[in-house]
């Protein structure tokens, strides 16, 4: 896990890119003045905000990140169609369940992304990550952490946990190298 940015003046390159794209979308134009001002804002805002934040792990594998985003997007569409069918189907036959998933990830940023992905994709909503570690000192051993999720229609608990771990958690580990 690498937390030290490569350039001092550009601490978070991908966030800068996102800000630049959002600025262009907001103005709906690619004229020179918008390109110039967008680039100015995209460099200045992260530069000012960087020292106000805790250091976050950096994205190490940009191409894998892109693939992960596309995969999650496709999963959102299919999973939501499934959820729509479940909602319209007979309610008595639903098998709601609480499941906890053991986590390998440690840092808060990948955990947040994982919880968000789980909420959006396969008929599940992430409920909690416990135990909290904020009160621990830097040298204390980290406990095993769990992600509590609620499933709308549970078929096989072990298969669901295996899917979440291999399909969403493993790429995140690869992306942040942690």
């Amino acid at each position: 896990m690498n937390m030290i940015p490569r350039f001092k003046w550009l601490p978070t390159p991908y966030r800068s890119l996102l800000l630049f794209i959002v600025w262009l979308l907001l103005n709906q134009s690619a004229a020179f003045i918008h390109l110039f001002f967008g680039a100015f804002l995209a460099i200045t805002i992260p530069w000012i905000c960087y020292r106000l934040r805790d250091p976050q792990p950096l994205i190490q594998r940009p191409l894998l990140t892109l693939r992960y985003l596309l995969r999650v997007f496709a999963d959102i569409v299919t999973a939501n169609a499934e959820v729509a069918l479940l909602i319209l189907g007979p309610i008595k036959r639903l098998r709601p369940a609480f499941v906890r998933v053991p986590l390998d990830l440690q840092h808060n940023l990948p955990l947040t992304i994982l919880a968000g992905t789980v909420s959006m994709t396969p008929g599940t909503v992430s409920a909690d990550i416990y135990p909290t570690v904020e009160h621990l000192g830097p040298d204390d051993p980290l406990p095993q952490r769990w992600l509590l999720i609620h499933v709308l229609d549970l078929e096989d608990e072990a298969a669901l946990i295996a899917t979440i771990k291999s399909r969403y958690e493993a790429p995140l580990k690869e992306i942040f190298q942690c």
Partner: protein
């Protein structure tokens, strides 16, 4: 070309409207809070995506203009929907809402509730955990 675009607009608008409606039906039909949460967070978000795509196609129909800033709302909703769902379900755990009887994993729910209420008091005494 014009005709084809019009069909695309109609398709996406109807798809989005159906998903939004299904999300709200889920909000009404489901038996307990935890199952109710699934409809609005997932189906409604996809429905909004459909309606906004329809809007993008509609305003891009005239040849010289291109309208893409609806993408911003889609991206914003995609990012914020899981966050608000997470906050809502945490609130439900903290308030110890009941799940329907045949929910599996009762002890997981109990454990989650215990952690959620402990965390609620964390601001006073962080040391005594």
């Amino acid at each position: 070309m014009q005709n084809w675009m019009e069909w695309a607009v109609a398709f996406f608008l109807l798809l989005g409207g159906c998903f939004v409606l299904i999300g709200s039906i889920g909000l009404v039909r489901m038996p307990d809070f935890f199952t109710r949460l699934h409809g609005p967070t997932k189906a409604t978000t996809l429905g909004m995506g459909g309606i906004l795509l329809g809007s993008i196609f509609y305003f891009s129909m005239s040849p010289e203009t291109l309208s893409v800033h609806e993408m911003l709302i889609t991206i914003f909703l995609l990012i914020t929907a899981p966050v608000s769902a997470h906050m809502l379900i945490k609130t439900a755990l903290h308030h110890r809402l009941k799940a329907v009887e045949h929910t599996q994993g009762e002890q997981e729910l109990k454990r989650g509730q215990a952690f959620a209420s402990k965390e609620g008091n964390r601001s006073e005494t962080p040391e005594d955990q």
